[in-house]
């Protein structure tokens, strides 16, 4: 879940990293009061969860409090990428000597957090990494061992920063890494991290993205920041299809049949079990398939719940068939899922044998499940067929053999 900039800055401030004397408001007149308190020139920034604020006119500079009020009034009415601002952030205009970048992100391949640092801040780190790779330092962190200043220092030094700047930047970057770990972030970024003319450093902008599943562990922080339980804070608003998936999952307490994400492909997926969803989704893509959706099914959902999910996917425009695939299941019963997906077809007046391209769920109660599948003439696979192979068959059957790329 993403945080607005004013919230991200508050998180940075709480971790002991210096920030500017900024203020947040939803009211233009109050923006003026904040600008008066700050004194001097200010920057008025739209608070939206999307990029491109500068280009869209969502960031403006003001020399006087009156100007700050006028800019705030304009920005509060300005929609950016379909989003109305939550409010505006009023920030002192900083006299910067040099801009740096400091970030910690989750490295999914290494399965560890990685500190990124660059002496070229203020621009996208991806651009710097591509065009000036020598200006990006990287150091992985342990998932279990305590953090140390040494790791931060090593990362900063990779970019050639030495002396006083290195000494002053080290605790800031270490605190950022600690913040990342303590708050279950998937991204914690300060950009720019500004060096002022007096040699001090200050965070001028911050982006924070918390692992959604960790929300329950950070209730106090979210309460302090005023983040409501109903705010998903995802990269985009959920689609109608995704909301319908949530409704299916919420309809009964038994198991999971949800976490639906909409894509624009034609391969309907009913997938799950212990990481199976991600593996199968990737496998479908690796074989050249274009998924119509992502979802997670597991924890022994009711027949009705499995049926609801399958119905939703089957009715998605562009979906002709579904692939029902899971890793080897332990507690989710094969026969119950089989009943659910077949029931979905029957209730939609569809032939299960035609609409279920492949059913690959081995595990608990599979003999019973296979009897059901046989009765309805559905192609199924047991554990002798890997998830990878099942995904290939799904792509071949739904998108056509010519669509299979590997």
């Amino acid at each position: 879940m993403r945080f607005f900039e004013y919230e991200a800055r508050e998180i940075v401030k709480r971790s002991g990293i210096p920030v500017t004397d900024f203020g947040f408001t939803t009211d233009a007149a109050e923006a003026r009061t904040i600008a008066e308190r700050i004194g001097g020139s200010t920057v008025i920034k739209s608070q939206v969860l999307t990029g491109g604020r500068m280009k869209a006119g969502g960031v403006k500079f003001a020399d006087t409090p009156e100007e700050a009020q006028a800019h705030a009034a304009d920005i509060l009415e300005l929609e950016i990428n379909g989003q109305m601002p939550r409010g505006v952030l009023v920030d002192p205009k900083a006299d910067v000597k040099q801009e740096y970048y400091a970030g910690v992100v989750w490295d999914g391949t290494a399965k560890k957090p990685v500190i990124l640092f660059s002496d070229m801040g203020g621009i996208d780190i991806e651009d710097v990494a591509r065009e000036h790779p020598a200006h990006v330092g990287r150091v992985h962190l342990s998932n279990i061992l305590p953090l140390s200043d040494y790791q931060a220092k090593e990362c900063i030094a990779q970019t050639g920063v030495t002396g006083k700047a290195l000494q002053r930047l080290t605790p800031i970057v270490r605190k950022l890494a600690q913040l990342f770990v303590d708050n279950d972030m998937v991204l914690a970024e300060i950009n720019p991290l500004a060096e002022m003319h007096d040699g001090s450093f200050i965070a001028l902008d911050a982006h924070m993205d918390m692992e959604s599943e960790a929300r329950g562990r950070h209730k106090q922080l979210l309460k302090d920041l005023g983040v409501g339980d109903d705010e998903t804070r995802m990269a985009r608003e959920p689609t109608e299809f995704e909301l319908a998936g949530e409704a299916v999952d919420n309809a009964s307490h038994r198991g999971v049949a949800g976490n639906v994400t909409e894509f624009d492909g034609n391969i309907g997926l009913v997938i799950g079990a212990g990481g199976g969803s991600l593996t199968l989704f990737d496998a479908v893509r690796a074989h050249g398939g274009k998924p119509a959706n992502y979802c997670e099914i597991g924890g022994n959902p009711s027949v009705e719940k499995a049926c609801g999910l399958a119905k939703l996917v089957l009715q998605k425009p562009g979906v002709d068939k579904i692939a029902v695939m899971m890793s080897i299941v332990s507690n989710t019963r094969v026969d119950i899922v089989a009943r659910g997906v077949i029931k979905a077809c029957l209730e939609l007046d569809m032939d299960p044998a035609e609409k279920i391209a492949i059913f690959r769920i081995p595990g608990a109660w599979e003999e019973e499940g296979f009897k059901i599948l046989e009765k309805y003439g559905i192609e199924y696979a047991d554990r002798s067929v890997s998830m990878h192979e099942a995904a290939r068959r799904a792509v071949a059957k739904i998108a056509g053999p010519e669509a299979v790329t590997t």
Binding site: R333, K343, L346, K371, I372
Partner: protein
């Protein structure tokens, strides 16, 4: 009385119900997925829940009530109408 859904059928012997007034309450209590409902002493088989049957066999265990074995049947319609516990 018998009711069938898509995958599962449930049959409860009417004679056993007439003879054992405690049978509806017992079935209502043991079924984990609410297939049986007792209303004013009478038994109702809840149509929308029948296919949720997890084949646990708890409703078949009625001997301690003095109800004959086989008075309650769970039928697998997808398996040539095999009766649970009698396969």
């Amino acid at each position: 009385m018998r009711r069938d859904a898509i995958f599962i059928g449930i049959e409860v012997d009417q004679g056993a119900l007439d003879e054992h007034s405690e049978l509806p309450a017992h079935l209502t209590q043991v079924c984990p997925v609410d297939i049986y409902r007792e209303t004013e002493g009478a038994l109702e088989i809840v149509a929308e829940n029948i296919d949720e049957c997890v084949l646990c066999g708890l409703c078949l265990d009625t001997e301690h009530l003095g109800v004959a074995v086989g008075a309650v049947k769970v039928i697998k319609l997808y398996d040539d109408c095999a009766v649970l516990g009698a396969e």
